[in-house]
Symmetry: C2
Subunit: 156 residues, 2 copies
DNA sequence: ATATCTGCAAAGACTTTGCATGAGA
DNA sequence: TCTCATGCAAAGTCTTTGCAGATAT
């Protein structure tokens, strides 16, 4: 199978086999946790959630699995500026679909939003085209994030 | 003076005074280093550069000064996914002006670009307006970044 | 004069690595 | 069976904190 290097199409739950990856209990449960939430979980958050279903799991395995999933393109890794990475299943599952994040610099809260996606896509297309020509840079992913103050933090 | 909390207008080189901040040699030199480069320096990079002009400076002071400058809105802090923060003077100096980054996931290289800024501004305006109404979220900053492969890494 | 800043050393936080055991195909 | 995955412990990195001495205004 061609895409153990993460260049192939993302696979979903249970598609590890055939890619050289083994589907193990820890991996299944970690995917389940990510599938079943819209939160922005850190490695340790995931570790705690997984722990209730599979108490013997180690934090190391969580980190290794997350790295694997990122590399395979199944999940995204985000940095919201609080010193720890956060992970989210890519669009396609029962998840929210394509969206971006508002990061409150007051309380650290995150709001997902999916407005103006059409216009954004248009910009991205143009950018992608222009930059691939200008720099011969092949874009595979993008990150858009807004920072500011949420309603609650504005009052204070 | 009203803006020790970072809500006021950014000051440039030498404008520390009057904000409660003291202009010291380490701070001047750190600002000089940032002003004189278009690289994307990490705290340690800056530490090394500063060290040649001011050998007694400590890495701690670099970190503290950078935090101060970020908080005051004079510099931006970026995460390009390599585990260390990188810093850049905001637009206004002899710098490149408003731009975003292409991050090569192959070699970690960064390309600055400033294309499609007009269209981007338009999108941002709409987004800002829409989101401030919908979520009562006051946007103060944004981050746009593209990931992919640079010309060199595509060949390999 | 005095509140702020600095440098050193130590601590903290998140993440990665080494290695022997255990488990999937 | 045989390779790959796991868990524990230890190590690695980047960053922050405590504190006494130095400095800017």
């Amino acid at each position: 199978m061609p895409w153990k290097d993460g260049t192939g199409p993302p696979w979903l739950h249970g598609k590890f086999k055939g890619c050289g990856y083994r589907m193990t209990m820890p991996r299944q449960i970690i995917l389940d946790v990510l599938s079943g939430t819209t939160e922005h979980l850190s490695a340790e958050d995931i570790y705690h959630k997984v722990h209730s279903a599979y108490p013997s799991i180690g934090l190391t395995t969580v980190y290794r699995t997350l790295e694997l999933l990122v590399h395979a393109g199944l999940i995204h890794k985000f940095d919201f500026g609080d010193g720890r990475a956060r992970y989210e299943l890519v669009e396609g599952s029962q998840n929210t679909g394509h969206h971006h994040h508002l990061v409150c610099t007051g309380c650290g809260g995150i709001i997902d939003y999916a407005d103006f996606i059409d216009q954004e896509i248009e910009l991205l297309k143009k950018t992608e085209k222009g930059l691939s020509k200008k720099y011969n840079f092949k874009i595979t992913n993008h990150l858009i994030q807004f920072y500011g103050l949420c309603a609650k933090c504005q009052k204070q």
